[in-house]
Symmetry: C2
Subunit: 470 residues, 2 copies
Amino acid sequence: MLEWIRKHPSASKLLFSFAIGVILWFCPKPHGLSPEGWKTFAIFTATIITIVLKPLPMGAISVLALTAAVLTGTMKLDDACNGFGNSIVWLVVFAFFIAKGFISTGLGNRLAYGIMSRFGKNSLGLGYGLVATDLILSPCIPSVTARAGGIVYPILKSLANVFTGDSHDPKMASFLTLCAYQGTAVTSAMFLTAMAGNPLIASLAASHGIIIGWGDWAIAAVVPGLMTLLIMPYLIYRLRPPTIRHTPHAKEMAEKRLKEMGPMSLQEIIMTLTFLMMIILWIVGHFIGISATTAAMLGVSILLLTRILSWKDVLQEHSAWDTLIWFGTLITLACALNTSGFSSWFSQFVAQYVQGFHWWWGFFLLSLIYYYTHYFFASAVAHISSMFAPFLLVAIALGTPPVLAALLLAFFSNLFTGLTHYGSGAAPILFGTGFVTVGQWWKTGAFCSFLFIPVWIVIGGLWWKVLGLW
Amino acid sequence: MLEWIRKHPSASKLLFSFAIGVILWFCPKPHGLSPEGWKTFAIFTATIITIVLKPLPMGAISVLALTAAVLTGTMKLDDACNGFGNSIVWLVVFAFFIAKGFISTGLGNRLAYGIMSRFGKNSLGLGYGLVATDLILSPCIPSVTARAGGIVYPILKSLANVFTGDSHDPKMASFLTLCAYQGTAVTSAMFLTAMAGNPLIASLAASHGIIIGWGDWAIAAVVPGLMTLLIMPYLIYRLRPPTIRHTPHAKEMAEKRLKEMGPMSLQEIIMTLTFLMMIILWIVGHFIGISATTAAMLGVSILLLTRILSWKDVLQEHSAWDTLIWFGTLITLACALNTSGFSSWFSQFVAQYVQGFHWWWGFFLLSLIYYYTHYFFASAVAHISSMFAPFLLVAIALGTPPVLAALLLAFFSNLFTGLTHYGSGAAPILFGTGFVTVGQWWKTGAFCSFLFIPVWIVIGGLWWKVLGLW
């Protein structure tokens, strides 16, 4: 038996999740819950367990989950396909295409080198430079993997080469890697379109009546976000001080690369204007009746018309199609939990246990649990889809102002990826450089969480009070 | 001006369609039609003209069309994304993945060689063999391009090599090419899942209350379809007689290839069982409450679980994603024509002119016009999306039994692709062999239409009478 499991890890993981699903399915349903609610919960739980165990890619698991839901009669076929027509899903899909344009026109690299040539005089400046690059790109690149892997990683690599080569400073490379990684966690938290899971959060919140637009998200995040980004590189600089302090090499390299690139091409100029137009539409869209997805569609249309994107590029953007499938499926399942009455049953069930707490303390505790359970997740999306909605409902049942609860959990859903070397799609790429040991990575992750949590709760809390969110 | 147009063909085509759209938009709307109906018609017409002129791939045009519809306020964003969640769209998407498994396991080739080794004794037999291969594969390969290009074309090529090489019979190669091409037109007409445009037809018909299931389609098509497939190769054999009549070479080649392939692999066996399961579910699904899409989802799930398909294969199946976009968009636009009141206005408008005709003659004339206008279309889908729904409505207004009208137009929507060397996705591939001149191709196309139309109208009509469809 154990031998078989060792030899067939994927099959045994699949069988395990399947068994959990079947056991739950045949368990007597809790009092007060509809049969559909319980069935949906069984399929949902089995799906999330499979996603966490990862015997197959998330997209394949999604197809299996939908098939199970339809074949067992838990869901109607039309409802099962509904998630693929959700406009928030298409916001992410279109944003992937825009990110492609960003990287392929070279605009991403130009921005990065521009920042380096300005900030790159010393080590700390380089750290800030990497973070700033990430921040500028984050509103338009919803894939942390694309942002960290496609732009930040190559620059980090060439910077690190400069210092691990002649000047022999592995500590320098490790400082920069950690800055870049913790930076992505923070920048992802700052925009609705900075991480693929964020729109999932927005749509989970919306299904409970809490509307968070692109502008709402950005405005709420800007103060605690910028403050964290200001402190974090310095904190890491103290934790893992690089031997070399002054880095004229980096500045030179960036200036050389910029010179090599020459003046901006027409394509880059169009890409810049499209980018600016989308940011403006994302901010003011709420007032002129243009939703975030429409703005992204317009952006993609412009890129297609100007041939910055070919249709082939679009079709080859596999991460977009992958996201469409898993994201559409998770939205479908989460909506089904809602419409089948599971979510409201669950919040009522929990509400009776937490009635005594003041919401301040109750919600604080909930947020900490939500944050640190990320040690058990290898993907923000799996964590969000299994825990965001229930924690939100419990928080609201405690008396937490709904928007406040949704936003803090949303921000934590990104910040917590900093904890481990497997916490987000960017982690394996940056950890893969080999500049940082697991011990250093986790220690920095823990220290950064001691910075992130107070800043976002205290400074964030004050800012949201100013904004009138609670 | 003319110089500029010559130099920028794509841009001028785009500007031309855009101008048509703008002119229609600002034209005074016809009496009795809602403003939304007219606006939708303007966007729809501009889209179809762009698809016909093809300045960009159909998918890119679809994104532009949806953006225009949402930005002008003609359609709400959620309605615009709705087509991507349509379960019929996903039937085609899933069928593309299944076709991938068919081709990659080698099962497609094994079937083809098996048929060749049985039928391949003489030239006419080879023609029938190619058609039979196509017929067996057609229920599961909704892309004519994939079927003709991925399986029939390679076999045709190796057969042709045998005869154009040593034995010098170019007429043989041309006979086989024409058989293969006219064959795809007929097999495509026989199953809902044999051509990407067929589900579009089913959903256009459904939006006017005419439900055509997978089984309904197949049963209605089987008699006229098989009869056409029986006569057609012989007709082409008389039209373009090959010099060589007996072909032991072909039989030998097929037997040799089969021997090289060895016994069926486990993957092929699983693929065969999955294929059979799907066909059975597609036929009986109606009675046990399993829709065609659910059956296809189950098929894809099995292929993913047994690793016949990897998730990477799925993501790399670009034609599936392409189809998702254009098909989803066309369904969205066609639905909008319907909900905005354009379709019903149009049918009332035409109804007053055709009141005098008996539906027999009226519908016969309509079908002929529908058939032969395909000389002006380079894609069955463009033809279907622009003409199917209006012609259906006019036929119904004439008094034609709705199911009969929908089915005959549906079958003609595939048969008419035989007319030209650009009439379907298979055409450029098979015409590209160079074995057939344009003149021969068109002549054969016209002759075959003289066979197809009477068989499907007369024999088909009698069969549908037996089935009680009219």
